[in-house]
Amino acid sequence: MTEALKNTTSAHTATATPESRNPILLEVKDLKKHFPIQRGFLVTRVVGHVKAVDGVSFFIREQETLGLVGESGCGKTTTGRLILRAYEPTAGEIWFNDRKMGRVNVPDLDKRQLKLLRQNMQMIFQDPYSSLNPRMTLLQIVGEPLLVNGVAKGKELQDRVAELLRVVGLRPEYMTRYPHAFSGGQRQRIGVARALALNPQLVVCDEPVSALDVSIQAQTLNLLQDLQEQFGLTYLFVSHDLSVVEHISDRVAVMYVGKLVEAAATEALFQRPLHPYTEALLSAVPKPDPRLRTEPIVLQGDVADPANPPSGCYFHPRCQYAIDRCSTEGPELRELEPEHFVSCHRAEELRLMGVLGRVTP
């Protein structure tokens, strides 16, 4: 993993041309979160660990959107929560370029600093039904971050909340209503308004459109893009929906069983994936075109158990290109092309299928 780290860090300095690329806002290095599995009653003992996130490294530039994709249980949500330190990381570094405090390592911060940090890092949750307190009015929900951090109170608070509601496309008169009076799409807008209340630098969006209907999904995605432009926001966009991720992201990182398997600029990753898992994911998405009835690559078996992962490369039992080496030696994340990271032993020789078909370089 150290090898991969060196690669990641050298990549920024080597390939980023200063005039075209924004500076790096968040840099995650070898991040790990192992949840203990406990057994026993009264006397509990740890019988193993679920390696939910196991050595993930990536970076996000200012005002860009990084899509984090993977299947359920791959650790993408845990990664998002670790960045905000909603969970304590087991190991690893999270370097964040804070507006007030400068470049800080999130796991090292004390309670007071963490409160400052979270003004600049916010989260939008997946389920707009369970992430809003049903006993609070919109004024209380959206106004709470302002109140807690001593930014505004009284009349000023009301004005700020009214402004925020207007920004996300809700009428300020709704301020005194409770969440039950709103539809799923409107509730998600309330969640967005709450996240924006303190004018954060980074917003972790955890499946923000997965629970919404198709027509509402498009509205919400457009809103997120408009707000990004308006306020210069940076998004970590966690999702399992590859079409949505392609649409909204500048760069994409793919996770499988707690590890990052591939990361690249969106077009590069979708057109010419370098990891067999990415190829399988892309081909599995049902295409909304009856004239393009393709036979997807059907992976055998199920996603590996993160408490008991297979030897070598975690993907090798399901990989159609696996060789002997894959079952014994775990691949490192390497920068195979500028800004295109992959962890696969055979990445150089394989010619994989992207969304536009097989590309011969």
Partner: protein, 344 residues
């Protein structure tokens, strides 16, 4: 639209209402369509449009306080070579006749396999129950058949899985068990209500492939309910689009995707991000998705006239908000319910 094919189920002016304290919800309000033998019919729409209630009306399992208050569901069954037509709405939900059909001739696969399988019975127990009930086999023979069915749906180690409980299986495996159960009595119609919505894409691909294979082998008709237009495009032959309890457009799948007429269908197709679209244009050009303005109306207070008119971009003032449009056949097999695009 496949008029030469034999009709299996004819739904005529079906009305299923829910009588609640707050008012009456017309979940299904005058739905007409046919399902032919061996075809895959897609039913697409957003949550609350009545697609699941339509399916439940066919099986006569509409939960209270819902009730089918009007219309017919004609089921053409073949018993020992003799054709029979039964109106399913006329049967009592608990009647022996309905019970003979439900599960045996018309089976259903539900969205969430964790909540639709019993947590306290083994998979084998649940499959055997259906087999013994409908086919009158003894325990040993039923178990034999259940193992065969599990093998057919690609369950690894069916001899072992049959004695496992739902919680011991992964999501994809549970859904396979559901499908095995539904197909164990060789139904002529399989109703699949969002069978892959709760699954990951790679698992979804497995299940979709399995359903296609099984349809080739067993030849049953499938009514496929989903909100995912990608699944509709890949799986179905004919499609019914529903909005607020009504069918707004009906066509074969190619026409629906390449020549949609109803503004709602068009807007739906434009509002989905398509895989490869951005990559194909190298990230340049239009970044925003076309979206449908507003939101799904309150089911207690449906707008007058066409229920889509407040969100419609082609709304004709004074007509669409007054007159309720009728279903018009604009081309053979292509029906649309819209004043603006049919001109009537």
């Amino acid at each position: 639209m496949n008029n030469n094919r034999e009709r299996l189920v004819e739904i005529k002016n079906l009305q299923t209402y829910f009588f609640l304290d707050e008012g009456t919800v017309r979940a299904v309000d005058g739905v007409d369509f046919n399902i032919h033998r061996g075809e895959t019919l897609g039913v697409v729409g957003e949550s609350g449009c009545g697609k699941s209630v339509t399916a439940r009306s066919i099986l006569n399992i509409v939960p209270k306080p819902g009730k089918t208050v009007g219309g017919e569901i004609l089921y053409h069954r073949k018993v020992k070579g003799v054709e029979q037509t039964i109106d399913l709405t006329k049967l009592a939900p608990q009647s022996s006749e309905m019970r003979n059909i439900r599960g045996a001739e018309i089976a259903m696969v539900f969205q969430e396999p964790m909540t639709s399988l019993s947590p306290v019975h083994t998979i084998g127990n649940q499959i055997c129950e259906a087999i013994r009930l409908h086919q009158g086999l003894d325990q040993a023979a039923a178990r034999e058949l259940a193992i065969d069915m599990l093998a057919l749906v690609g369950m690894p180690l069916p001899n072992r899985t049959i004695d496992q409980y739902a919680h011991q299986l992964s999501g994809g495996m549970r859904q396979r068990a559901m499908i095995a159960m539904a197909l164990s009595c060789h139904p002529s119609l399989l109703i699949a209500d969002e069978p892959t919505t709760a699954l990951d894409v790679t698992t979804e691909a497995q299940i979709l492939k399995l359903m296609r294979q099984l349809q080739d082998e067993l030849g049953m008709a499938i009514m496929y309910i989903t909100h995912n237009l990608g699944v509709i495009a890949q799986m179905t032959e004919n499609v019914v689009v529903m909005y607020m309890g009504k069918v707004v457009e009906q066509a074969d799948v190619d026409t629906l995707f390449y020549d949609p007429q109803h503004p709602y269908t068009r807007a739906l197709l434009q509002s989905i991000p398509r895989l490869g679209q951005k990559t194909a244009r190298r990230g340049a050009g239009q970044r925003r998705l076309a979206s449908i303005r507003g939101m799904v109306p309150d089911p207690y207070a449906l707008p007058k006239g066409c229920s889509f008119h407040p969100r419609c971009s082609q709304m004709i003032a004074g007509e669409c908000d007054q007159i309720e449009p009728q279903m018009i056949e604009v081309a053979p097999g292509h029906k649309v319910r819209c004043l603006a695009c049919t001109g009537i």
